[in-house]
């Protein structure tokens, strides 16, 4: 059913290399609005690189990104790309450790806030009104992810699982049109994984977020993703629903190959 919709993001023929290492080689993928897209593949397949290109942290050597029907200029800065509505979480946590969970989430809303420095310095009128309005929004996310009891806890003091959750909260706080999650469940136990999977599904179904995620846990990916893209050695080797992927001989080979050596 998704095929009929216009994709929210279209990455065409993305190629990038780092010092001779071909990280991605002519990969194209599309993300449709409202779906959860899973990106899987063996280690070093270029999954994180793909996310880094989608949100502009890396600039591709070749290829182009079309977001909401407009081609992205070559040298667009990441914060402007974020402003277009792409948010993400990181594989190796990148929380602002000197701030509380709430502070982190409020940073997520930075693009939506507009009061100027003078107003902020006085903390008066528009600035205060804006702070309160965005605090309210941040609290909805806190409520959504059930992290009420840690909102004042410094991020550096949080246990791993909660850090991941706060990072998800920070990304959600930006109210992105496209949410990129880089291994949101890495290093979690089964229960925590179930929680996060639940939150991702809720974010998708209840709040209507479009999500692309990288995840190693096949079970989870198959369960929650509408479509799956498989990368291997910087190339896309398969794309389709969970069932199609499971049956794809190339995928099986890539995974068995990895397991075998």
């Amino acid at each position: 059913m998704n095929e009929k919709k216009e994709p929210i993001l279209r990455a065409e023929n993305i190629t990038i290399s780092f010092g001779g290492l071909q990280a991605l080689d002519g990969v194209s993928l599309v993300i449709y609005p409202g779906e959860i897209l899973g990106i899987i593949g063996p280690n070093g397949a270029g999954k994180t690189t793909m996310l880094n290109i989608i949100n502009g942290f890396y600039k591709p050597d070749k290829g182009r990104i079309i977001f909401e029907g407009r081609e992205r200029p070559k040298k667009m800065k990441p914060d402007l790309i974020a402003a277009q509505g792409i948010a993400r979480t990181f594989q190796n946590l990148a929380l602002f450790s000197g701030m509380s969970a709430l502070g982190n989430i409020m940073v997520g809303r930075t693009m939506l806030m507009h009061s100027n420095i003078f107003s902020q310095g006085l903390y008066w009128g528009f600035s205060q009104k804006e702070e309160i309005e965005h605090r309210r929004a941040a609290e909805r996310i806190i409520d959504f992810l059930q992290i009420e009891n840690i909102r004042r806890t410094p991020a550096s003091m949080l246990p791993y699982g909660l850090r991941k959750r706060v990072e998800l909260a920070r990304a959600l706080a930006a109210e992105p049109k496209l949410l990129l999650l880089d291994e949101p469940m890495a290093g979690m136990n089964l229960e925590e994984k179930e929680d996060i999977a639940r939150f991702i599904l809720d974010a998708n179904e209840e709040l209507g977020y479009t999500i692309a995620l990288i995840e190693h846990d096949m079970g989870v990916v198959m369960d929650i993703c509408d479509r799956i893209v498989v990368l291997d050695f910087g190339k896309k080797i398969a794309e389709g629903t969970a069932d199609e992927i499971k049956a794809d001989p190339k995928v099986i080979k890539a995974y068995l190959g990895e397991a075998g050596g």
């Binding site: 709430l102 609290e139 009420e148 639940r198 809720d202 179904e205 209840e206």
Partner: protein
């Protein structure tokens, strides 16, 4: 007094009229701050919900089951249903399927109001089994968006229907409210009962209003009070306290953000009035002890010393004797250094009056709180009497009694020592259970089932459940609850079951307090894997033995109880659990059940020389699944004095 409204819908309307919109009727910590609702909001919310129910076909005398944590929406739902002359049936939120099934079926509920997905799921299972249950209404829509059923409706949607219904039938609401009479049934509270199926206690608007007002007058409480609503709505205590008293006085009820933040939330609010069962007071005490144990040496010593001073001062105060100057100076210092900050951290520094009710509290625990300067008092009441029988009066407190009869209450002691009473709150009867009603209510006198007597000061003293009090073989009186409560003063003991009826001596099962003992063990580098493992560690046995010795010492001082000192004990392999039927949801021990289930263990306690006993136990999970485990328990002796 007579011109005061006597039905809760009227009281609510009265409140909305007499209080300004700036006065908070109910607050809930939500989204990080306290969201306040005025009495007008309370009324509007209840009214919209009521009319929504009407639109769905709710009629007078229909029952609605209410299940969930304390949330404004559930109180609004309760009030709304009463506006239509309906009868709410509050349920324990941790009840398992079997219990829910029984109550929802027995009470003939057509509607159910659930807090969230968890409770909705439970009710949805019932829906298939109980065809009478027509609609399930939920408050928190989280996770429910995929449950597309036309009989499953959101609270706000019901209210929306209500607003629409109101436009079409503008007079409906007031007509319905006027139709509700003071002597109409206002609620059915199911008592868990230590034996058999729960029984539905039917109470009326008048009874609840009169008892609530009686309480308020007793302690001069009024609209400025702040209370925390965190006890189960299905407990009569919460209904009187967070609903009856709140509406009658117009004071503010505060709902915590979540169960895990209750303590913090209480600290923020600083309630002026607390009503809690002994279990809560015991838990807080345990928490205090653990934390003090963890604190620096100097603080520990200061705590110990000043608690000693406080206890000395409190003994004088209770006896209405003057406190020696030096002690009163020391108490002031202690108040600044220890009691003041400690009470403040517990969120209890604004308390005018606190009650312990529902069960007997250990005298040591009671004294502990009073010595800190918290005005804790005992109250004796039952669901059948709208919790209104007797309570202590300021300036006339003692550890052991539950105070003089409340105004309008008559108490007499039957020939076999059972407490009988006539209270304005006496119930109309058990719902659909005339036999039980007849058994309990004779000529207007209610059988409490408790053994007790009136002291010289005119206070009622409760010894134990009448049927539990018995004698040892040597004729010594044996009151198990009394001994158990003494044991529970120890932070390491969570629950205990004393045995001794028709035996030579007293022996006990002990349920360790896992948190406190685990903390103790970690401090001593004792490794353990589970509750069972921890409970069976020899050092833990030694630890508990010391606690029992303290109890024996205290028992030895009372000539009547000297012989009921504890001789043997064993540490239980699991926590007593209402899901396993060993204790009730209000945490009263079901003695008969325990005696039957663990007969083998009891025998071991009374078999001289037996040091070990095997046990096989079934656990029940929340979802009703069960599992079996085996353990080998040690049995040990204790010295007596």
């Amino acid at each position: 007094m007579n011109d005061l409204p006597m039905t809760f819908p009227k009281i609510l309307i009265h409140n909305a009229e007499r209080f300004p919109p700036t006065k908070a009727a109910i607050r809930e910590k939500d989204y990080g701050i306290w969201q306040s609702y005025s009495w007008q909001d309370y009324l509007d919310q209840a009214r919209d919900f009521a009319l929504g129910l009407a639109a769905l076909g709710f009629e007078k005398d229909d029952k609605i089951a209410i299940i969930g944590d304390n949330r404004p929406q559930l109180y609004w739902g309760l009030a709304g249903c009463q506006c239509l002359g309906g009868v709410p049936v509050p349920l324990y939120q941790d009840a398992i399927h079997k219990e829910l099934h029984y109550i929802v079926n027995h009470s003939e509920c057509k509607f159910a109001l659930a807090e969230d997905q968890e409770q909705t799921d439970k009710l949805m299972h019932l829906k298939d089994e109980i065809p009478r249950l027509k609609y399930i209404i939920y408050d928190d829509p989280r996770g429910l968006q995929n449950y597309k059923k036309d009989w499953l409706i959101a609270f706000t949607d019901v209210q929306e229907m209500g607003r629409k219904f109101d436009k079409e039938n503008p007079d409906y609401f007031m007509n319905a409210v006027n139709d509700v009479k003071p002597d109409d049934m206002s609620i059915i509270v199911y008592t868990s009962g230590t034996t058999g199926n729960p029984k539905g206690v039917m109470l009326t608007h008048r009874k609840i209003a009169e008892c609530s007002r009686g309480f308020l007058q007793w302690d001069n409480l009024d609209q400025i009070e702040e209370v925390m609503a965190y006890l189960p709505m299905a407990w009569i205590g919460d209904h009187i306290f967070s609903y009856g008293q709140a509406l009658c006085a117009g004071f503010t009820v505060n709902c915590p953000e979540s169960t895990s933040t209750t303590v913090l939330d209480q600290k923020e609010i600083g309630p002026t009035h607390i009503f809690a069962p002994p279990r809560i007071w015991e838990n807080i005490l345990t928490q205090i002890m653990i934390k003090i144990e963890d604190s620096a040496w100097i603080k520990r010593k200061a705590f110990d010393y000043f608690m000693m001073v406080a206890s000395r001062v409190e003994k004088k105060r209770i006896a209405n004797e003057s406190v020696p100057l030096i002690d009163s100076i020391l108490y002031r210092i202690g108040d600044f250094i220890i009691y003041g900050p400690l009470v403040d951290n517990l969120g209890m520094s604004k308390i005018k009056v606190a009650y312990t009710a529902g069960e007997a509290i250990g005298p040591e625990i009671f004294e502990f709180y009073r010595s800190l300067g918290i005005n804790l008092k005992q109250l004796y009441g039952m669901t059948e009497s709208t919790a209104y029988i007797s309570m202590q009066k300021d300036g006339d407190i003692d550890n052991e009694s539950v105070g003089p009869p409340a105004p309008g209450v008559e108490i007499k002691i039957s020939d076999n020592g059972e407490v009988l009473y006539k209270s304005p709150g006496n119930f109309i009867g058990y719902f659909k259970n005339p036999e039980a009603t007849a058994e309990t209510l004779e000529d207007g006198w209610l059988h409490s089932g408790d053994a007790g007597y009136m002291t010289e000061r005119g206070h009622l003293k409760i010894i134990d459940r009448a049927k539990d009090v018995s004698k040892l073989n040597d004729g010594t009186m044996f009151a198990p609850k009394y001994i158990e409560n003494k044991l529970k003063f120890s932070p390491y003991i969570k629950e205990s079951v004393a045995h001794g009826k028709d035996r030579d001596y007293v022996a006990v099962f002990i349920d360790i307090d896992y948190g406190a003992v685990a903390n103790w063990a970690e401090r001593r580098h004792i490794g353990f894997t589970s509750y069972t493992d921890l409970a069976q560690k020899p050092p833990v046995y030694e630890l508990i033995k010391d606690e029992i010795l303290k109890v024996n010492k205290s028992l030895s001082k009372d000539p009547r109880l000297k012989n009921s000192q504890i001789k043997r004990y064993l540490l239980f392999h699991k926590e007593l659990n209402p899901d396993d039927g060993e204790i009730t949801r209000t945490r009263k021990v079901r003695r008969k059940f325990v005696a039957e289930k663990y007969g083998k263990l009891i025998e071991a306690l009374y078999t001289p020389g037996q040091e070990n006993v095997d046990v096989e136990a079934t656990f029940t999970y929340e979802d009703g699944r069960t599992t079996t485990m085996k353990a080998n328990l040690k049995v040990r002796g204790v010295e007596t004095f």
